[in-house]
């Protein structure tokens, strides 16, 4: 069976230009050779700190940025070689929900127009059909039908995020990219939205690319988790294994830094020294070696690869 989405050795380098002629002086290696797959109806969670390339990965998947190397395959087809019609199909198949529902909804449009806009752009429909689709979408995300006539400012944060989710579902996509979908919401509202997303996945067979910095939420939502550090995937595996029995020293430190859910819950004490280096000039060898508690000589020169089998990019596991 072919995976819904497959990234093979994907690169995205942004050139840093200086001077009058804009000569490139090096590059920001935002995404530096990553591979992953997303199966139909499943969730891939991506975790990592700022600057690790999570959002660039999302943009590559959404087709908002073109990769500088490697390939993306959607339903087995190479995205780069698609014709215009194929490209449109691809764009319809992948939709997005962003972090801030106050910024992602046009305040001058009515909710009905917001949700229907992708449909009107991509398809021709008569009005009764559109109306039926709109009602079904509002019902799916738990909003009343009268919401269609209102403006976004009349809704709270959680309800706005429901509107954004309804819009992302308008074209019946097979993959939805969720970039921090609950971090702008109140704590008591987050569970509502996470439950809604899981219900929609079960009902519509959606696949998710779930990006968040709240590790417990990612573990809760995902089937597979990819841990990124400075543009590379350092560990990839079953969500439960990554969350509870991580192997890569960075993953272990990251999950050790996650906050406990109870005062008596004791976590491994690994406090990393230093900060994430700049992706403009990443350390040689393993990017993590300057902060790694179990660094060895070969980590400084030789880049560890993510291999099949145990999918950990670390010399400790070779």
């Amino acid at each position: 069976m072919t995976a819904l989405l497959e990234a093979v050795d994907l690169f995205k380098h942004f050139p840093v230009r200086r001077g009058v002629f804009g000569k490139a002086h090096g590059a920001v290696r935002a995404v530096d050779g990553i591979s992953f797959t997303i199966e139909k109806g499943k969730t891939l969670g991506v975790v990592g700190e700022s600057g690790c390339g999570k959002t660039t990965t999302a943009k590559l998947v959404l087709g908002l940025e073109d990769p500088t190397g490697g390939a993306l395959r959607f339903n087995g087809e190479d995205v780069a070689s698609l014709d215009a019609a194929g490209r449109r199909r691809y764009r319809r198949g992948i939709q997005a929900v962003f972090q801030d529902p106050y910024a992602s909804l046009n305040p001058r449009m009515r909710v009905g127009e917001i949700i229907m806009e992708p449909l009107i752009t991509h398809e021709r429909h008569d009005t009764p059909e559109l109306k039926r689709r709109l009602e079904r979408l509002l019902d799916l995300v738990g909003l009343p039908a009268r919401a269609a006539a209102l403006f976004p400012h009349e809704f709270s944060g959680g309800q706005r995020q429901r509107i954004a989710i309804a819009r992302s579902l308008a074209l019946s996509p097979s993959l939805v990219v969720l970039d921090e979908p609950v971090s702008a919401l109140d704590v008591s509202i987050r569970a509502q939205i996470l439950n809604l997303l899981r219900d929609l996945q079960a009902e519509l067979g959606l696949a998710y690319l779930f990006i968040a910095h709240d590790l417990a939420a990612v573990a809760h939502m995902s089937h597979t988790i990819a841990v990124m550090y400075l543009g590379r995937v350092v560990e990839l595996g079953d969500a439960n294994t990554v969350a509870t029995a991580a192997r890569h020293p960075y993953t272990r430190a990251l999950f050790a830094a996650a906050l406990p859910s109870h005062p008596d819950e004791k976590r491994e004490e690994i406090v990393l020294a230093g900060e994430v280096p700049s992706p403009l000039n990443p350390p040689a060898g393993c990017h993590f070696h300057p902060r790694c508690p179990s660094v060895m000589e070969r980590c400084r020169g030789e880049e560890p690869k993510l291999r099949t089998g145990i999918r950990v990019a670390c010399h400790l596991y070779e």
């Binding site: 700022s50 569970a191 809760h220 906050l259 819950e265 900060e275």
Partner: protein
């Protein structure tokens, strides 16, 4: 021993310019904090937690025209202090760390100038000595190469370093109480862990009392001795951290604890809290949580519940749980 800080039936109400609209941002709150302890104030946006912190420092905006009750700090009522006396207290005996470190640092002054400012203002330390102390403070908050960093500017620092510098300013005059308002929300996880470990060490070394204002129950679980849960301006539950996590009494506290994802049971459905947080300019009658409360009875709709159970240090405002 008298507590370091004690609030007795304290309220802050914001009144609109014409006096027609009143928002009860903080409403009859009572709590205590001892020296060297850590108190977590949790609540959603608009629950009044930041207003409460600003009230302690008397930094409220002009619209806060009605305050009531007592704020006793080392036995003295802060509400009775003159402006000049408050100035002596702020930054010296009570310091505050804000959420956005860039907003608390002046981009035009060096780090050394800013970290030494409290010392020069409050203790009249000469410039040279104050700078030496600033270097020592940067070292205490684990800034590498503090001798060069003191001469640099905020834009040359990373987010984590800026937050640590703000921390250094906070402890410059060795205050008794440090209030941190969402101090780690802008930080990455591993940097957050570094920062929390640092705050804990500083607390141990200087016998600081800490107040954490946060919406994150994880920070409370990791750092705090006592918890105050706020909802719509009221303190709905207050008590020792283990009591609150093991036997939460207020339905809101219970629901909040159940709604956060945990690593242990990741495939179970979360228990969501229905409805929305209330609009504070028109809060529900009676208990503000009743429209979302699974246990609400008739009495909750008409009458606000009083604080009960003060004897064992675990108080709750609820008709059902409190009786």
């Amino acid at each position: 021993m008298a507590p370091l800080l004690e609030l007795k039936n304290y309220s802050t109400h914001y009144v609109s310019a014409r006096g027609t609209r009143v928002v009860k941002a903080v409403d009859t709150v009572s709590l205590v904090l001892n020296s060297g302890e850590t108190l977590g104030i949790v609540g959603e946006s608009g629950s009044g937690k930041t207003t409460l912190a600003l009230s302690i420092l008397r930094l409220l905006p002009m619209a806060a025209r009605k305050t009531d009750g007592e704020i006793l700090f080392e036995g003295e009522d802060l509400l009775k202090k003159s402006t000049e006396e408050m100035r002596q207290i702020r930054g010296k005996r009570i310091a505050m760390i804000l959420q956005d470190p860039m907003a608390s640092l002046n981009p035009l002054f060096t780090i050394g100038d800013q970290v030494s400012e409290p010392l020069r203002v409050h203790e009249g330390t000469p410039r040279r000595t104050a700078w030496q102390k600033a270097t020592a403070l940067l070292k205490a908050v684990r800034i590498t190469a503090p001798e060069t960093r003191v001469r640099e500017y905020p834009h040359q620092m990373s987010g984590g370093m800026r937050q640590r510098i703000v921390g250094a300013m906070g402890i410059a005059c060795e205050p008794r109480l440090l209030i941190a308002d969402e101090p780690t929300t802008s930080l990455d996880l591993t940097i957050q862990a570094q920062y929390l470990a640092l705050l804990r060490d500083l607390q141990r070394e200087h016998g600081l009392a800490l107040i954490f204002i946060t919406h994150n129950l994880g920070i409370v679980a990791k750092m705090c001795d006592r918890v105050a849960v706020m909802y719509a301006g009221r303190l709905v539950e207050f008590g020792p951290v283990r009591k609150i996590f093991d036997q939460p009494r207020h339905p809101y506290t219970r629901a909040l604890l159940q709604s956060i994802p945990r690593f242990a049971d990741s495939r179970n459905r979360l228990t969501a809290i229905g409805g929305q947080p209330p609009d504070l300019s028109a809060p529900p009658l009676g208990c503000a949580f009743h429209p979302r409360c699974p246990d609400a009875i008739d009495r909750c709709r008409g009458e606000a519940p009083p604080e009960t159970g003060t004897t064992n240090g675990h108080t709750v405002r609820c008709w059902v749980a409190g009786s």
